[in-house]
């Protein structure tokens, strides 16, 4: 039989001014199951809490109801007190007679009656409370970082520097990502590689970081603190333990006509190659799709002959390694639309209509033109360059409603770089709006316009066609009462939309994280959880979540690292026991769950798993749902939709909620 204690707080005058607290306490004492009832000026004060602790001990109370403020305020306080007195903290409930009663009603019998009702309701709940214990989940203190761009690099370094193991997986042969392709960076115009490469080297040399380049995540199982990941190490055909990175192999490689990804296709590389001079690791791999040894079985083999270390090994196969990690940072980055996306601009047929990344390479000292801006078609230095902002972005017709965010800034940068290198050249920018919010961003744009007299035209370009060696850019100037303008350009640069990677969807599915309709990964909460995903233990960094510039990306990467480090701060992760459970009982019942698994769909956290129930002989008896307490956040949506109440929510159980309703509505006496 329950022995409930009721403690009514005056909260100074806050409650007692409108509620007859003595009466509430007196009548509460008559409720069935209530063994002790008292009112006091400040329950949350030390003497107040002591009063509770003593009462629990003295009257052997099995549970308590504190009639005071909102549980959102002091539930923790009083649960601690209950625990101190030796009862399970979850046998303490709060009756909110302040925010929900004394503060919102005048002094009256109704108000007092309402307070009593609230207390009675919670008394009914306490009668049906059960002892709950914090859920402990062991944590493997190793992090997996997917993607070796600046986001991945930053996250990996932060976690590693906090003393935790990091496994960094990069798809391409080198880390560095898009940032390594950039020439200068806005708004300071400092050289991208100069600031990036030291970080890349730091990663390579960091004792806590295991780097897997030319590798991809194969599949992920498990849950927060306990992920089980298979990683595919693609066959490099080069034994890195022998290779010194001398480079003689790629210098001699005969197949030299392969478009160079690093230079955005504006130069060629060989079949055995390192993506760029400062690559990390600076060791080549063979691109088997383009190597004659593999395409024309066994022909060539020059690199093997040439290699002084005998590091070339055509027989190496893909290898799958299994790693156990506690947290995953997803930093898989982004892609951009290319000029072939735009029919109105000639489907990218014209070599001198290029995208932003290509211009970065043209402007980069390590680029195909050694930093001189020459147009791809004939290598001439362009007299007139037209830059198009919002190429594809903010364009419903193109299915891209969002703003790519970085274009305004890098277009200004491009125009500036061009002007700096060709003082007499003309630079035009067609734009919709200039979005230059950010520290010294707008100043940067103003500089482009005012100091480097870049010609900004507010309007869009309807088409571009070629006419005797010139690119005719037909647009409109909306500021000069929509006057059509045509500019004869030598080079056109499209600030094309930032989009999710081609394989974003499959990556999301491997990780069991959700993504939006543009395939950008979805954060757990747009405002309060911008770094977490709905899958506990998996965080997001950089442009895989949405278009971002470098500082934002780095900031989010560090945030993701911080979340990971917090998770790793204890050997176990402790979670509120307010989680759903699927009932289990002895044979022959085992569980009332029918295994329809309709509940799996409703769980936002993929916390509901399938369990096969077998007899001793191992015969499958039934399939039943099981809640992974490590993942469940306790919303209870599955509970309300389970037809035969096989799932219940600890702390808000069916028995508790129904008792509250019944308790509230039946008034034992007036």
């Amino acid at each position: 039989m329950a022995r409930i204690g009721v403690f009514i707080c005056h909260c100074g005058e806050n409650i007692s001014a409108t509620v007859d607290v003595e009466k509430v306490a007196r009548l509460a004492s008559k409720l069935s199951g209530v063994a002790f009832s008292v009112d006091y000026k400040y329950m949350c004060s030390d003497p107040g809490q002591t009063l509770i602790v003593d009462a629990i001990r003295k009257h052997k109370l099995t549970g308590i109801v504190v009639g005071a403020c909102s549980p959102r305020m002091h539930e923790g306080t009083f649960r601690k007190a209950a625990e101190k007195a030796g009862i399970n903290p979850y046998f303490c409930e709060m009756a909110n007679i302040r925010e929900h009663c004394s503060w919102v009603h005048p002094k009256s019998d109704e108000t007092t009656q309402k307070a009593l009702d609230i207390v009675r309701t919670m008394v009914e709940k306490v009668k049906n409370d059960t002892a709950l214990f914090p859920i402990k989940v062991p944590v493997t203190k190793t992090a997996l970082v997917i993607g070796g761009g600046i986001a991945g690099i930053q996250a990996a370094l932060d976690i590693a520097n906090a003393g935790h193991q990091v496994i960094l997986v990069e798809k391409t042969p080198s880390i560095g990502g898009h940032m390594s392709q950039l020439s200068e960076t806005f708004p300071t115009l400092d050289c991208s590689q100069c600031i990036l490469t030291p970080r890349m080297v730091e990663v390579a040399q960091h004792p806590n970081i295991t780097l897997h380049t030319f590798a991809e995540v194969e599949n992920v199982t498990g849950f927060i603190g306990n992920f089980d990941v298979n990683i595919r190490l693609k066959a490099k055909s080069v034994d890195f333990s022998k290779c010194t990175g001398c480079g003689s192999c790629w210098q001699k490689c005969p197949s030299k006509k392969i478009p160079d990804e690093f230079n955005a296709g504006m130069s060629f590389r060989t079949a055995i190659y390192t993506p760029f001079p400062q690559a990390v690791p600076n060791k080549p791999v063979i691109d088997r799709a383009n190597c004659t040894w593999f395409t024309k079985d066994g022909k060539c083999g020059v690199c093997a002959k040439i290699c002084p270390m005998g590091a070339i090994d055509y027989t190496i196969q893909d290898e799958i390694i299994n790693v156990k990690v506690g947290a995953i940072v997803t930093a898989t980055g982004f892609d951009i639309k290319h000029s072939d996306f735009f029919p109105e601009y000639g489907y990218g047929k014209h070599p001198d209509i290029i995208d932003g990344l290509q211009f970065e390479r043209l402007a980069s000292a390590s680029g195909p033109t050694g930093g001189e801006i020459r147009r791809p078609s004939d290598g001439k230095v362009p007299e007139t360059v037209v830059f198009l902002a919002c190429a594809g972005s903010r364009d419903k017709a193109k299915g891209i409603e969002y703003c790519s965010k970085i274009c305004c800034m890098y277009t200004a940068k491009h125009a500036m770089l061009y002007k700096h290198k060709n003082h007499h050249g003309k630079a035009y920018v067609f734009y919709m709006d200039i979005r230059s919010a950010g520290k010294s961003y707008d100043e940067f744009v103003r500089r482009a316009i005012e100091e480097d007299d870049v010609n900004y035209i507010r309007g869009r370009v309807s088409k571009i066609y070629e006419k005797n060696g010139k690119l005719m850019v037909v647009g409109v100037d909306t500021l000069l009462n929509a006057k059509p303008v045509t500019i004869e350009a030598d080079l056109v640069v499209l600030a094309t939309a930032v989009v999710a990677n081609e394989d974003a969807e499959s990556v999301a599915q491997k990780l069991h994280i959700s993504y939006d309709k543009h395939k950008f990964f979805a954060e757990a909460h747009p405002k309060l959880k911008p770094v977490e995903t709905n899958t506990a233990g998996i965080t997001l960094a950089g442009a895989c979540q949405s278009a971002k510039d470098i500082p934002e990306t780095v900031a989010q990467a560090s945030a993701a690292a911080a979340k990971t480090i917090i998770l790793f701060s204890g050997s176990e992760l402790t979670r509120e026991p307010v989680v759903a459970t699927v009932n289990r009982s002895a044979a022959p019942v085992y569980t009332t769950c029918t295994g329809c698994f309709l509940c799996q769909e409703v769980c936002p956290y993929q916390a509901i798993e399938r369990e096969e129930i077998r007899d001793r002989a191992g015969n499958l008896l039934m399939n039943a749902a099981r809640v992974n307490a490590g993942l469940c956040q306790g919303c209870g949506t599955c509970v309300a939709m389970c037809r035969n109440k096989s799932i219940d929510l600890q702390g808000f159980s069916n028995q508790q909620m129904l008792s509250e309703v019944m308790g509230l509505l039946n008034e034992p006496f007036e």
Binding site: H105, H525, A640, V661, M662, N666
Partner: protein, 157 residues
Amino acid sequence: MAETFEPKIVAFVCNWCTYAGADLAGTSRTKYATNVRIIRFPCTGRIDFMLLIKAFQNGADGIIVSGCHPNDCHYTSGNFHARRRWMVFKSLLDFMGFPTDRITFSWVSAAEGKKWADLVNETTESVRALGPFTDYKNLDFTQFNQIDHEGIAEQSR
């Protein structure tokens, strides 16, 4: 029957938005009708439609169900699931001739203390206008159990 009828209204609310909204109404001392009694759930997704039936059966005259606005759910999608259930549940009750105007569904965020107060007042008034909800309780009559149930009901009040 009392001189003026005071409806009993039960509110099923989620912890993160409407409960907090009601707290805000308190902290900002916004006055409203005393008729409502709040029952706190983690999320509107947790609210079992059977609880509404039970509340009416046990004497509620009106019910408020409220949670986070769409897209604001603490658990991202609980209120979306809840909304579908409400849509289906409401039309079922309508089809069975149940007076669904005694149920108020609403979104009240943690910032909408005022909206909460108004909601309670409006609901109280509309339910007061509808009068005591007896249809349902009077169903507790079994044809050959020839006992004056009204009488019993009186006694047990």
